[in-house]
Symmetry: C2
Subunit: 251 residues, 2 copies
């Protein structure tokens, strides 16, 4: 059975209740967890790595390993692949998802994360570390509520899920770009996660919201009409039949 997938919308609480990170630790085995932190989406990987290392240690995790990937050559080193072998959880930090994919996409490490997930290792990630879980990944895009052509740039992600995951969703006004993303990928479902909010996705598809914000689902399975293809430059387009749902944590 594959592991649990836990995308976080960024800016999860790290000082007070720590609801989300505590939950991640618990599913990974609590005190007995073995968590590998991958900070390489960030342009300050060492600072970010130290921060999460300390956080997971403070939450009682026995073994926390740092795995920074500065270049693609490092992503193929067997010592780094070995680190993943004993992990019960892998956590990817924020930064730029396109940077992290440029470092690990198509490498032995990228393959190892995917196969460990398939074998039951739980994968958490915040902000860029959440987006990169998607097969069809949002690389970057513009803010705004209303979709328009060229509002979003798609790329390959790690392919852990068919959901298109977006983050900082309400805070950065990203509904328009997620609607554009599903128009570019008809049939797929977009998931927009607010800050300090996570969605726990189980292998059977069941979903649980954690944290203080909301999760917005943009479901294009019922898409009835899209003329995205006809919109030139940055023009708006017609999009009908997309089902938008909002979920919060059960109080």
């Amino acid at each position: 059975v594959p592991g649990l997938l836990m995308p976080i919308g960024g800016a999860e609480d790290k000082l007070y209740s720590r609801t989300i990170l505590t939950h991640f630790v618990n599913i990974c085995g609590g005190n007995n967890a073995n968590i590998v932190v991958i900070p390489s989406a960030s342009s300050f990987p060492y600072e970010v790595m130290q921060k999460y290392h300390a956080l997971f240690k403070n939450l009682g995790v026995h073994e926390v390993n740092n795995l920074h990937i500065p270049d693609r050559q490092t992503a193929s080193e067997s010592s780094n692949l070995k680190l993943l072998k004993d992990a019960t959880g892998i956590f990817m930090t924020g930064g730029d998802q396109l940077r992290l994919m440029s470092l690990i996409g198509g490498t032995a490490l990228g393959d190892a994360i995917r196969s460990q997930f398939t074998n039951g290792v739980h994968i958490g990630g915040t902000s860029a570390g959440a987006s990169i879980m998607s097969r069809h990944m949002i690389a970057f895009g513009r803010s705004g509520a209303i979709p328009s052509q060229r509002m979003v740039q798609m790329a390959s992600g790690l392919g852990l899920t068919d959901f298109i995951i977006d983050q900082h969703f309400t805070q950065r006004n990203r509904l328009g770009r997620l609607l554009t993303a599903v128009a570019l990928n008809p049939g797929l479902t977009g998931i927009g996660i607010d800050e300090d909010t996570a969605l726990l996705i189980a292998a059977d598809g069941s979903q649980t919201v954690l944290g203080s914000g909301k999760v917005t689902l943009v479901d294009s399975q019922s898409l009835s009409y899209s003329d995205l293809y006809a919109a030139r430059r940055h023009n708006p387009f017609t999009l009908q039949g997309v089902d938008v749902r909002v979920m919060t944590a059960i109080a």
Copy 2:
């Protein structure tokens, strides 16, 4: 065993030797072939449909069926799905791959094309009908030999292959956008097909070139460095370790 995949770079000869279309007919069973033509990428679907119907008939095909999909509702009708059941080949015409995906992406027809291919039906397509075979599909982009940020827009294709297929390749100077596409999808291989040229891809990965032009492979499995993520707006970026190969038909 899956069928053969036969992307064509557009403008295949239709008057004289008809090498490529004849080959497609032959793999589909020659006179006994049952070919379904899907013209809905085109903005002139009826004209295009009639043209290919006549072409395949002139090449001796017993049964040619037209399947135009004017809207997503039509893409779920059981009579249309039934047409595919007896097909030995499916042929998708040129036009706009994003238009065709907007009509059939995530529909029962899209699923049926994929499952028929998996079950041994051969799939041919020219221009837009070639690009749409990709999982990570080039939706559109700019011309030029040198890659730069935002040079190409990616979307979901039918997912019949992990190759990123581009067409009219030399004629429209598309090396730059294919290099940008593999930078956005590290580990994948781009295939740029010239006009009047086809690549026959077998389930075991073996490849045969047909027609008068060339096929350019842009292989990023050996990618050593990409800083695509750091390029802003339409700026160029550094890309190293991409293996470019060129193939023509064996004389």
